[in-house]
């Protein structure tokens, strides 16, 4: 009885299991294809000739350099202001801490055009900070500074979250031991905590960079000109139609995908180290 029963059981079971997992695989596959096909089609199936034309077109090149550069400046600013905040959030308790944490993440869900409006309402020529900065010659409307401000607003949560997680993963007892060995809190930060959280911070920086490059809604309100690539794509689409927009979109998607692969490689190799 034993052998026959066994093979029956095993056979039946694995079909049931197969059916359940097959449905899941099928459903999952649909969403994977839904994301894959548009991206792959834009990058691989667009007209090679117009892709090349777009690539050597100085307008495209300049706008891509502007976008990458602005996002890089944004990331540097985010690093200076965001990493200390991430450290404070990871290590210290203070009143309203959870409110601050919520506030920091809010830009991820705030509609981008609404964010642009809100920024303009503060940094516009006739408003609060816009006036102050205007007095020292910095203006945000239709300027690089405006692009940076818009990018910073929507992308800084990614850096802060990643850095915070990185700091949190550093065992407090490593810091405790370092203190007893004679290190001041500042020495503990730069000799222990920061080096150990470095990969997460770097990944957060890259993520922030990529997110900055991708922004459109907030930038288009604050600074239509100089034209960042997402705006250029929109303008090409509006003025000349889909076929002129595709090559620029393809190039930008490739740039972001490469940065993003860098983020994942960083985070992945960190997990292996652990």
């Amino acid at each position: 009885m034993a052998v026959v029963k066994k093979s029956e059981d095993a056979g039946r079971k694995s079909i049931i299991r197969y059916r359940f997992l097959m449905l899941f695989t099928l459903l999952g596959l649909i969403i994977v294809l839904f994301i894959l096909i548009p991206l792959a089609k834009v990058v691989f199936l667009s007209d090679k000739e117009s892709l090349w034309q777009a690539f050597i077109d100085p307008t495209t090149i300049n706008s891509i350099l502007l976008t990458l550069g602005a996002a890089l400046i944004t990331t540097a600013i985010g690093f200076i202001f965001g990493v200390p905040l991430a450290y404070m959030l990871a290590r210290y308790d203070f009143p309203l801490k959870s409110v601050v944490e919520g506030l920091i993440d809010l830009p991820i869900v705030v509609p981008h055009t609404a964010a642009g409006i809100a920024l303009l309402f503060v940094f516009g020529r006739n408003y609060l900070l816009g006036k102050w900065f205007g007095a020292v010659g910095v203006q945000f409307v239709d300027s690089l500074a405006g692009i940076v401000i818009a990018m910073l607003f929507v992308s800084v949560p990614f850096l802060i979250d990643s850095a915070k997680e990185g700091f949190k993963k550093v065992d407090v007892r490593l810091e405790n031991v370092s203190r007893t060995l004679g290190a001041s809190p500042w020495q503990v930060f730069y000799r222990v905590t920061f080096p150990l959280a470095w990969r997460s911070i770097l990944a957060g920086n890259l993520m922030m960079w990529a997110r900055g490059i991708s922004e459109f809604g907030a930038i288009v309100i604050l600074a239509y000109y100089p034209m960042v690539t997402p705006t250029l794509i929109y303008q090409r689409f509006e003025s000349y139609g889909l076929s002129k927009a595709i090559p620029v979109a393809a190039i930008l998607i490739l740039v972001c995908a490469f940065i993003f692969i860098g983020v994942r490689t960083l985070l992945h190799s960190r997990q292996k180290d652990d």
Binding site: R179, A183, S184
Partner: protein
């Protein structure tokens, strides 16, 4: 001398209250208590990592209660060693010297000295991730000792090791303490470890210190039921003193009258260690004090010996070596006589 005076400390929802301890310079002090008793919290408080709510901590004649940890000259070793994973073993060991800006030549000299005391030469270039448990502990010890601390705090350094590494490290700790004469506070939940290593022992539990003294005192003369249970006294009987003898008293418990050399008044518990009880198969006809006849109800094998539970009643647990066990041929249901000396009966 290290002393804690009525220290109170809180961390999250946990509090330690009225912690007073005093230990001589050069002592090997075991702080022993069950899991969750706040042993690590107390250690971190001594190191200056938690603010003290009230009370004082003195180290070598200096009030350090409000002193920053980096000024206390305390070496600390956590159970999992807390080696800095991004630094090599050598860099870990000299970390304390580096941050104190000791000159490079002096750092080299000190590293060589430490390595000559704790044998870790072959590990110096490795990263902590590549070390075994025992090796990690040695490196953590070396790192703690490199800055010549006035006090060494060890938090369950042996708990996560396999028996062989544990024994090796126990000997290592004994040797280091003997050779360096450093004051050590060693935290453990293992009472056997406390007996093996400690010159003095304090039992911590229920938010405070329950008893402190020499191993012999704590082990043989617990001051409370908590300590008696924790030290696996096993035979703890509730009752009261019923009379006096020439040099002691008589303690009456349900079913037995125990003669003790202690005269403590108001005692409510008597206890006897299982290894202080003699067991014999020949039943004496004339009744002697502290001599009872009972039936074996249970036999447990405990490592190199047996626990024999004899129901007098009450049930009394006796320790018998493997050899005696074989020679007497003890089995469940057999009638035996148990006997113990009056000075083995401790009342509290």
């Amino acid at each position: 001398m290290i002393s804690l005076k009525s220290v109170r400390v809180e961390f999250r929802r946990f509090a330690l209250q009225d912690i007073s301890l005093e230990l001589e310079t050069g002592d090997y002090f075991m702080l022993v208590g069950p899991t969750g008793a706040g042993k690590t919290l107390l250690m971190e408080t001594i190191a200056g990592l938690h603010p003290v709510k009230s009370g004082e901590i003195w180290i070598e004649g200096r009030d350090v209660t409000r002193l920053e940890p980096e000024k206390r000259h305390i070496g600390m070793v956590y159970q999992d060693c807390a080696l800095l994973p991004h630094l090599s073993v050598a860099e870990n060991i000299v970390f304390g010297l580096k941050v104190r800006r000791v000159a490079n030549g002096e750092i080299k000299r000190k590293l060589a000295e430490i390595v000559s005391i704790i044998k870790v030469e072959h590990l110096l270039e490795r990263k902590p991730g590549k070390l075994s448990g025992g090796e990690k502990q040695k490196v953590a010890l070396a790192r703690a000792l490199a800055t010549s601390p006035r006090l060494l705090l060890l938090d369950e350094p042996l708990s996560s090791l396999d028996p062989e590494s544990r024994e090796m490290l126990q000997q290592e700790l004994k040797r280091l303490h003997r050779e360096l004469g450093i004051t050590v506070i060693h935290i453990t939940h293992d009472f056997d470890e406390a007996l093996l290593l400690g010159k003095h022992i304090a039992v911590i539990g229920e938010g405070g210190i329950r008893q402190a003294g020499t191993p012999e005192e704590v082990f043989r003369r617990p001051s409370s039921e908590f300590v008696a249970r924790f030290t696996r006294m096993r035979n703890i009987f509730a009752g009261k003193i019923s009379g006096q003898t020439g040099d002691g008293s008589v303690f009456r418990t349900d079913g037995m009258e125990l003669v003790t050399t202690s005269r403590k008044t108001g005692a409510t518990h008597a206890c006897i260690r299982p290894d202080d009880i003699d067991i014999s198969t020949s039943l004496a006809s004339h009744p002697a004090p502290n001599s009872f006849i009972g039936t074996i109800t249970r036999i447990d094998e405990v490592g190199m010996a047996y626990h024999i539970f004899v129901n007098v009643p009450p049930e009394v647990c006796c320790l018998v070596t493997r050899r005696s066990f074989r020679e007497m041929g003890l089995t469940v249901g057999k009638k035996v006589q148990i006997h113990f000396a009056p000075d083995s009966v401790h009342i509290f």
